[in-house]
Each structure stands twice: as C-alpha cells, then as structure tokens.
C-alpha cells in the first residue's frame, strides 16, 4: 500500500473495469427508467374511484308545505336548486360556495353546526371563522371570513398523498378515504389554507370519570358510518370539510349554509346558470383566498 495515497498497491485489483461499469450502468439506467415511468404514469393516469353516469342521479322529493316562489327564503331556493343538481349525473355537477363577508356577522353558528354535524373531536375544525381587523383607530372595521375547505380545482393536498387516499371527485369535492389514509399528514402540510386538521384521538371528556356517549357516536361523512372507538378511522387521519356530501345526497344543503343566520352562505351547482350560486359567482366584487398559490379554489368571497 502506498502511504502517500492510502491506496492499495495492487492497482489492477482496485481498478473498476469496463464490465463493472456497464453492469452498474445498466442496473442504474433500468432503475431510472422504472422511476421516471412510474411517476409519469401516476401523473397521467389518475385512478377512477367514483361511479359516474345515470346511476348517480337522485330523484329527491320536493317539499309539500313550503312554497318555492320568488318570496321564498334563499335557503328554500338553494334547496330546490340542489334537487335539480342531484337529478343530474355527478360529473355534471360542479359544487361551489360563495360567502358574502358583508353579511357575515361572526356568530360562529356555522363552525358549531359543522362540529355537531360531523361530530368533530377536540382539535379538529372544518370551518373556523377568521377575523380580520383593518383600518386605523378610530376608523377600524372587522371582517369575518369563514374558511371551509376550498375544494380547489388544483388541490395541492391530493398529489402528495402517498397512498391514493384523497382525490378530486367528479363533482369537484376533494374527498378522503379514511380507511386508506395512513395519517402521514403530508396533505395537512401541503394545504396553504390550513383546511386539513388531523384527528389526534382526543375526547372532550378526557380526564373525567366517564366518557360521554355522544363522543363515541359514529359520524356519517361520505355516506358511511365512522366510529372512533378502538382507534378506528377517522382517528389518526387527516380530516376536512367535504361540503357535507352525506347531506347533499339526501337533498340537504351543507350544515353551515343551513345554519347561517345572516344568509351569508350561498351553495349550489355552478354548472346551473340559473342557480343562486352561479349568479353570485358572476359578481365583480369577489376574491379568492391565496389566489397566488394557483390552487383555483371553489370557495369565493364577496367583499
């Protein structure tokens, strides 16, 4: 061995011959092709998960006791429009939400109603109401903007999921399959709106002598019954607003829209030009949150 270089004196023994290079190069090239191919395939071919077509239409009954005329409350109108949308195949619906910040009084009824509807545990919130204070004393004003999931058309949370547990439905809602989610929280980190929260397994009556039965009741997100008992999903999963899909299927508006006392929430099928939500979406005074992120949110704010 040469003390100067520290290399073995048997140069021939240490040489990397051409055959080794070719073998290593072929294995590396094959690996590279497989890697690039897998990524390209995953980007180009999104798996189809939801049924589409005529079998997804729903014929929902109209209310018999409530008149649906021009004098009706906006909720009644939106309810009728919802029935109209549900009569179409799912891929022809395009759910959207418009929130009129001038009408929002910051009562948090939507936040609470959402928690009750989806039986959210401590630390999980789908629709917080953010307060924004602007101006300078004495000309100060408060503005409230509820922040549901934006159901982005280019959702940054979807491609980061390593196990295909979240995807964009044909009607535009970004869904999560709690049975598939491994709880890695990559989607939670990727959402610029902080719209995904993780269920860390807390209960409101933690540390008290008895867990209250209401805490173990199943919720019905995505039309399934989910029980958090024995660390069952959605415990340990990422959770988020899904526009109350389970209610829509029954012809009911999302809980936050129904409970809004100021009628500041508009919800419906943006593909229906006659719908109230489509009408509001044409307003000039609209803004989208963090538009510079190019996520194309489906929740729009009127200011």
């Amino acid at each position: 061995m040469s003390p100067a270089t520290g290399r073995s004196s048997d140069a021939a023994e240490n040489e990397i011959n051409r055959r080794d290079f070719v073998r290593g190069g072929v294995v590396a090239a094959l690996g590279m092709v497989a890697a690039v191919g897998s990524v390209a395939h995953a980007r180009r071919h999104q798996p189809v998960r939801d049924p589409v077509g005529p079998e997804t239409t729903r014929a929902l009954p109209a209310p018999k006791t409530i008149p649906e005329d021009e004098t009706a409350d906006v909720l009644v109108r939106m309810q009728a429009e919802l029935r109209r949308a549900m009569a179409k195949p799912v891929e022809q619906r395009r759910w959207a939400m418009v929130i009129d910040t001038r009408k929002c009084v910051g009562c948090f009824a939507c936040t609470v109603a959402c928690m009750a509807e989806n039986k959210l545990p401590p630390g999980v919130v789908y629709r917080p109401v953010v307060q924004e204070e602007f101006g300078q004393y004495p000309n100060v004003q408060l503005r409230f903007f509820p922040r549901p999931c934006m159901q982005c058309d280019q959702p940054p949370c979807v491609p980061v999921c390593p196990v295909n547990a979240t995807w964009k439905r044909p009607d535009g809602v970004v869904a999560i399959d709690y049975d598939k989610c491994i709880g890695c929280r990559y989607c939670v980190a990727a959402c610029p709106y902080g719209a995904r929260t993780s269920d860390f397994g807390h209960f409101y009556t933690e540390g008290t002598p008895q867990r209250m039965p209401y805490e173990t009741l199943p919720n019905h997100e995505y039309g399934k019954s989910w029980s958090r008992e024995r660390h069952g999903s959605p415990m340990g999963n990422a959770r988020k607003c899904q526009f109350c899909l389970h209610r829509l299927e029954e012809g009911e508006l999302p809980q936050c829209v129904t409970t809004c006392i100021g009628r500041a929430n508009y919800f419906g099928d943006a593909n229906d030009p006659g719908s109230l939500v489509a009408e509001k979406l044409r307003a000039a005074n609209q803004v989208k949150l963090l538009e510079e992120k190019h996520t194309k949110p489906r929740v729009v704010y009127l200011v």
Partner: protein, 386 residues
Amino acid sequence: MNKRTTLKWMLGLAVVATLVGGIGLVQKFVTGERLAGYGSYVPWGLWVALYFHGVGIAGGAFAIGVVGYLLGVAGFREHLRVTIWVSAVSLVMGLFSIWLDLGQPWRMYRIFTDPSFTSMMAFNAWMYMFFLTLMAICFVLSVRKDSPTALHDRSGWLVPLLMVGGLIGIAFPSQSGAFFGVVDAKPYWHTAMLPIMFLTSAIAAGGAVLLLVFTFVLPENTPASAPPLAMLRRVTLGAVLFYLGAEFAELSIAYWSPVSAHRDAFNLVLFGPFWWVFWVVHLGGAAVGLALLSRQGSLPVVGTGAFVVALTFVSSRLNILIPGQAVEQLKGLREAFMHPRLEHYYEATQNEYLVALFIGGISVLLVAVGIKLIRQLVDSREATVP
C-alpha cells in the same frame, strides 16, 4: 480512557437510553398520538426530524463508504460490511421513527400495495426499499465468496451493485430535500436549495457517523492520519463547511432582499423561542466539530469530533422542518379556533424525547452488536483458510 473503556461507557449509556426511552415507546403504543406535541398547523416534529437524520446518515455513510471502497482506500474494503451495517441500521431506525409518527401506523403497507408516485413520500419509501434490498444483496455478495480467502474479492456483481447503491445513497437524501421543496404552501421550504442542503447534511452526518464507528473498529494505535480516517475527516469537514456556506447564502438573500417570504421563518430560526437550536446546537456543534476534526489529533479527539457533528447535525433538519411550518400562511387562523393542536408553535414533549432516546440507544446497540457479529463471521471464515 482507552477504546475498550470508552466503548463500554458508550454501550452502557445506550442500554440506559434504550431502557428509559422504552418507557416512552410503551406510552406511545398505549396512548397513540395524544402525548405528542405536534398538531395540525405544525404537523411534523422531532420524530420526522429524526427520520430525515437517520435516512441522511444511511445515504451519506453508504455513499462515502462505497466511494472509498471503489477508489481502493485502505480500510474501506476491509470494513465494507461494517459500512453496510451502519447504513442499514440508520435507515431502519429512521424508518422506525417515521412509522411511529403515522396516525395509522399499521396501514403503512399501503405505500407498497397502493402507492401514488405523484407523492414524493411514496417515491422515497420505494427508494428506501430498493436501497435496503441492494444493501442486503451487497452484504451477502461480500460474504458468500467461493473461498474464505476471497472475502474481499471484487469480482462478480458486487462492484456494479455498490455503484448503483452509491447512486441511490446520494439520490434519496436529495429527495428528502425535494420532499419539502415541492410543498408550495410553505415558502421557506419551496426552494431548490433544499435538496442540495439535505444531501450535504447527509454527507456530513453520514461521514461523521462512519468516522466515529471506524475509530472503534480500527486498531487502537491507528493514527488519525490513517487513510480511512483521513478521508472521512476531510469529507465530513468539507460537507460541514459547504452546509454552513449554503445556509449563509439562504440567510443573506432573505435578509438582503427588501421583502422576502422566507424572512419570517429565518427570524424564528435566529431569534425565535428556539434560537439556541441554531446558535448553540447547530453553530456551536459545527464549530466544536470543525475544531476537533481539522487537527491531526488522536483517535479519541477525532471520535469526539465525529460524535459532536453526528449528534448536532440533527439541528439542521429541525431548523428546516419546524420554522417552515411555524409561519402562518393565513393570518388570523390560529385565533379563529383555539386548541393546543391548532398552534403555530411546536415544542417536543417528554414522550417525543423519550422515544428519540430509545431510537438513539437502540441504534448504537444494534450497530455494536452487528459489528461484533460481522467480526466473528470474518474471523470464522478466515480461520478455515487451509
């Protein structure tokens, strides 16, 4: 203190760390994530930093070991199996750390049965599996030779597969940087510098760990100028200096620019509640490491320098991971709904530290036991030489 005594102390401490840390592990299995400090606005904490540190050490150590082996630097060939073992333990313990971090850990298999390769996480997971398989094959190839005298034989598929392994060892620490870099939601992470910085810190930490292990593996009277130690020292020093340079580039650009989306995060790094992680652990650790490794000291001095770098470079992961999440993207969100899990502040809990202690302790023990078994294996084969 001679090498034997130092090793005894180190293993003793590792046993204590494993036992004490084991309490945290049991707590974790019993309580799930309820005792962890991360939340929904800072969803990744100490265990994720440990994971990236572990996989970084694995990739860095293997890449350096392979380069040394292929260049014929004395010491690397004889201890190729040690390099593979150190790398494998680091990777497996890193993966164990991230496995504990999952909300539904028993579903981890889904990354292999239903992967989405649009996700850097799935891509990384598959790379780790290929790497582990490749390391196992290289290990077997390096042992199962036709004759005991051919233990260090480079013929066959060993060299080509080591080359591929070396490439993967460079690739996946870089991908760890890309893992964060692709998250557009966090401006602090969304930079092309991250893959380079992750690779550099992997080389620094991997080189340091290998250097530390070699100070125990090589004979006691080996001078610090001996080829494998000299090479590892230089590589580690170079990587630490390069990392500090890259860090300075990032900092200076953020502070020079009149408006920078990164500045809030850097303010947290430099002057936030955990300022000491940067100034004391990171810079202090790097300074001590540089001072000890840059001189031709004795084996204990070199070993201490390597230990300091390997341990304190976890701060480089923490300083990227936490501040990136701790900056609010939507002002007022924290106040909109109050809960400890909805804070832009993260502090590791006792349970997280205990689990980290367990991972550190068990890693040291696994490396030591593995090296002992490898030595016995080599001795037994050499003893059968006619």
